[in-house]
Symmetry: C2
Subunit: 590 residues, 2 copies
Amino acid sequence: MSYRSPLQDMQFVLYDVLQAHRQWQQIPDFSAQLDRDTADAMLAEAARITEERIAPLNRSGDEEGAQWNNGVVTTPAGFVDAYRVWRDGGFTALTGNPDFGGLGMPKALSVLVEEMLYAANSSFALYPALSVGACMSIDAHATDELKQRFLPKLYAGEWTGSMCLTEAHSGSDLGLIRTKAVPNGDGTYAISGTKIFITGGEHDLSDNIIHLVLAKLPDAPAGSRGISLFLVPKIWVNADGSLEHHNGVNCGSIEHKMGIKASATCVLNFDGARGYLVGEENKGLACMFTMMNCERLSIGIQGTGCADRSYQNAVAYARERLQGRDVNGGDKSRAADPIIVHPDVRRMLLNIRATTEAGRALAVYLGMQLDLAKHAESAEQRARADALVALLTPVAKAFFTDLGLDSTVLGQQVFGGHGYIREWGQEQLVRDARIAQIYEGTNGIQAMDLIQRKVFANRGSSIDLFLAEVNDCAKQIGSAALKPFAADLLQRSAQLQDLTHTLLDRGAATPAELGAAACDYLHVLGYVTYAYLWLRMMVVAEQQKGNPFAATKLKTGTYYFHRILPRVDSLIAAIRAGASDIMALSAEEF
Amino acid sequence: MSYRSPLQDMQFVLYDVLQAHRQWQQIPDFSAQLDRDTADAMLAEAARITEERIAPLNRSGDEEGAQWNNGVVTTPAGFVDAYRVWRDGGFTALTGNPDFGGLGMPKALSVLVEEMLYAANSSFALYPALSVGACMSIDAHATDELKQRFLPKLYAGEWTGSMCLTEAHSGSDLGLIRTKAVPNGDGTYAISGTKIFITGGEHDLSDNIIHLVLAKLPDAPAGSRGISLFLVPKIWVNADGSLEHHNGVNCGSIEHKMGIKASATCVLNFDGARGYLVGEENKGLACMFTMMNCERLSIGIQGTGCADRSYQNAVAYARERLQGRDVNGGDKSRAADPIIVHPDVRRMLLNIRATTEAGRALAVYLGMQLDLAKHAESAEQRARADALVALLTPVAKAFFTDLGLDSTVLGQQVFGGHGYIREWGQEQLVRDARIAQIYEGTNGIQAMDLIQRKVFANRGSSIDLFLAEVNDCAKQIGSAALKPFAADLLQRSAQLQDLTHTLLDRGAATPAELGAAACDYLHVLGYVTYAYLWLRMMVVAEQQKGNPFAATKLKTGTYYFHRILPRVDSLIAAIRAGASDIMALSAEEF
């Protein structure tokens, strides 16, 4: 089924609600080159390409899959041409550093482009997505010479990047990696080891692939403090930019997976491959974390993108499919009414819609914070944005993708039996969305990151900061119609604050309390954050009340507050039950 | 990964908790032939065959899939032999009528055999499962002559059955079917039309396939009151039992699906195929509903079976996989600890386990009620059991399968990236379990059946009956250790009763209130029912306290009450928000 980019919804969030264009005016890096017209032109072009060129390859790409043959990986028919169109549209350079050929656009704009790309074709989206991460790491940590040699080609999309972290015995726990890097004596290193699950590690879309590889120097300390980051090109690049020869990196196989089948997930064998150190020795994980927030947000957006696609398909089907009779009478001239009249079908659709629209708003909100953290003039503003980014990025990654799976399952359910059949595409969205809960740090890892590093380690200061913003917003609501929602939000915010303090105390006494609470806590924060963003959307929608678009927003937000937000009650009750029941069983008892 | 039948858990529920063997002694149809040893022998044999012969074909069956070639359907390698072993073990006759060659075993035993079969191989399980439904319809409604001609071969497994209901434009709403049945004048009918989604409609496991087909007579009333049921053999069977010729039924294609790929989901073209009327004219839906409760329970069990398989795999992986450090110290001689030490991994495992074990108990409980409804001597007992079966069957079907999907997703998540790769089998369980929420009446249809027909239509009398049983049990708890759980259950039961009365009032005023509440209401009843069964399991476990098996049961039950049961709070809050937010949007606004 075809894809329509939700441009009106995107512009509503970007400009009307979050006023990103005002932020752009205040940031010198953006104000010179970027205004609303430019941003709109980028969004319109991204919409055109994703709708016309990339979405049509989604089903066929799934059926055909990426193919491995003796080390060579071929993407499905049409991918090479579509990638060229995407690249020529400037999208591989979108957020890149202008000093090296990037367009320097804000992340707040990029998140919307990313959503379109994931919604259109998640497998396709991953090829450029991983390049963005590689570019950010190079831009932040490599020498100017390396930047000059690699970034312009990467931004141009002539080359792509990959992130080589995982090994067979080392995924969530990267301290266990065994890949070695031995100095060659000429400033380069010889990298040897086997990496798995390398997205876009080999393919036919670009002339070269620049691998960013975690490896250990010979005398490195044990564990995660002894990991360094290396830049290892598939084809060696001389100082003058000329390509020399294959560089001891081989793709041993690609995985057979549940979904994202057109994305090549590679086993990469490094056999003394030459590479450059990026950043300092043994600081590889820190270098990697530079781009982690951006990448995690991006992967989160895969969840909302797939959810929106599933919603679009499900609504179209629910309007056409005639089954059963409207309890309010219906149209007797037909043998049955369209299933969109049935309350339970509407419930499924609204569950998707209310969470997807809030997720989109949070993505833009976080994109704006990422922009502030990098570009704001005042150090105070940067520090505040940094704290919010650190706090909310694991939420975005895990919550978007958990609700993304729920949403694709609901969108499939609307189709009944047809949802289970491959030709309709709804089951593919479930399979494609599922990976986003797993890769880029499983959602369990995100939840531990949140509760341990972003809440417990700073004694709740970041969450206090965020909830103060939430409470300020709620307290300022003047409209009588919106006051009940503001009151609801204030109450939820207070519940969350109280819960946080309970966990800070418990976690200090019993470390397992944090792990036992982590996933549910992340969801509580997610639901409260969505309520905050819904309130902000509703405030603007109320001001535009005559407009049918705004009226629908108010209805959807109302649904969110009444039918979805109460989920926090059960989550809080489960968390308050504590860790003891979880830890009571011995490993053998399971 | 290999499958181990959970025989000890099954026997605990069957005998210790629900005391099915005592019920068998009180029912003349069972008491003569069935004792605990006989039942145990059947369970052990089912365990052996599923573990050794059927489970090993699960992965290969998924990869190979059922194949269609010019109307002929071939099952994956090994299926024909495994089916023969299953049939020769007597399992296709398990619950069949002894007058026609069935073994006459109780449903309470059968549900456990079914669980093993679905857990071992859901695709395989569907071939015999559909036969059971066809046999029940024939046994209940066909003439003795037809029973004599068809049932012995069906019970022997030499022939199989299919249920032909759905058409392209008619699934949830069967009143829309167009397949025609025209009297041939010789007591047979000519059936013409196209049926889709016919599980096991064509395959190579049996010599003949007996299709039970819904069709309309020429002068039939419109809608669901004009549907009749016909028996249409793939190969015509003469009165003397000899096979004559192919009978105008052709398999036009099989579906390409998300999962259960080794199960042939057929498009069947009936082109003047000869058939017999089963039951009365225009009473076809009622005839179909005879076996619906058994079939729906069976499909529900697919959910718990897949969940248990996923749990077994996930526990094995969590014990082996070393990542990260135990927050309580761990084993410093290893670079990392097994992930089963981490609270969040334990949470995922316990969520699966606590719901799967309760689901198994509910399956046996319902199986016993089905046995009473059919075989009890007193009419009062039969009526009471009938009411409980009617009330709880939609719950079992939808709740088992909703939690089944959640459980397979959690079991996949424990594997991290490896869970997304086909070779480990965890992603297949997600794909296979997903269909069970859709077929045999979508879970939305189950929820409407529950709230409309089983609650609203009788003004809550069935749920009052059930909750009285629940409350009696809770009030009788004498153990100080279990009293808090009993009190919790009583409170939940009261909440549910109160909610029910609210909905009876609201539904009378506004029909959409029922549909808006349906799915969440079903889940509330499901969680309360699981709590009831957990309390019963905990009572027995407490009596066996010295036993480590029983100690684990107590811990798992405690987890259920503390960490899962609170989910009803949010569900009730969502329901109480009412239908207005769901109905506020016009169809165009979606």
